[in-house]
Amino acid sequence: MYRLIGGDGKEYGPVTADQLRQWVAEGRVSAETRVRMEGSHDWKSLSAFPEFAAQAGASAPPSVAPPASPARATMPQGQISTYLVPSILCTLFCCLPFGIVAIIYAAQVGSKQGSGDFAGAMESSRKAKMWCWLSFGIGLTVSLIWVAIYLVAIVGGLAQR
């Protein structure tokens, strides 16, 4: 069993390792959250616990919101990444309408989270991320092909002289 300090400075717990893992997965607990083992006296960041380090590192939205008390477990408060900045970068520099789709999903994340639809917000966040990567991937591929063609043309021109 573990005890932890939420973003509001209050102590929560004891909770089971499984419950804690679920909170990490939901973004309510981050790698920096202070945690201690039940019965131990030193608070450590979650990432210092080998049993959580891999998971906490993999899903690393910097959580500032407190984990709700277990009674409010159905209303998670964590921060979900909106991918707003990557969406804007993709729109302005990948030259694809996909970036706009990503921005719209990014906007949905905040709206849905505000109305308490946590699962919907996670889904929008996932879609925003997907459209960003799609836009970035296509933009990068086209750019690389273009530069390659340009280089081949130059080398060909030099060879003919």
Partner: protein, 140 residues
């Protein structure tokens, strides 16, 4: 113990890649004017449809910004020039550490602000294709 160190070192690598990428990109864009050189990739959307996308002219705008010609940069792409300080701030916050990094997204998470931004970029993309006087200033 290596699992504990994995996250910071991966972040450091990401930051390094970000600085290197932006640095090299800025250097190339500063040296070579996209209006006069052929090696910059063209906008795929513009090639296919003949329409201006919200990002068309962004490389030319960045070249003008890097030479201090803000007015000409705005002529190529208003959205990029407006977004630049904000993107620079976000980038710096990401590099500087957690406090700023947590503070900036908390402002950006206000839903109405994000919706307004999505609407503004969409409108910008549409209006710059209108072939009439005030709107044609938005085209590159």
């Amino acid at each position: 113990m290596d699992t504990v160190d994995a996250t910071p070192s991966r972040n450091r690598l990401l930051r390094l890649a970000l600085v290197a990428g932006v640095g090299v990109g800025a250097f190339v864009v500063f040296l070579f004017d996209p209006s006069r050189t052929a090696f910059y990739p063209p906008c795929g959307f513009h090639e296919l449809t003949g329409l201006w996308c919200p990002g068309c002219g962004s490389t030319r705008a960045l070249h003008q910004v890097s030479h201090g010609n803000l007015a000409r940069a705005i002529g190529f792409n208003l959205a990029v020039v407006l977004a630049l300080p904000f993107l620079a701030l976000t980038g710096l916050a990401y590099l500087s550490g957690r406090e700023l990094h947590a503070w900036i997204p908390s402002i950006l998470r206000r839903p109405w602000l994000v919706w307004a931004l999505a609407l503004a970029i969409g409108l910008f993309g549409i209006l710059r294709n209108v072939p009439a006087e005030p709107f044609s200033w938005l085209a590159p």
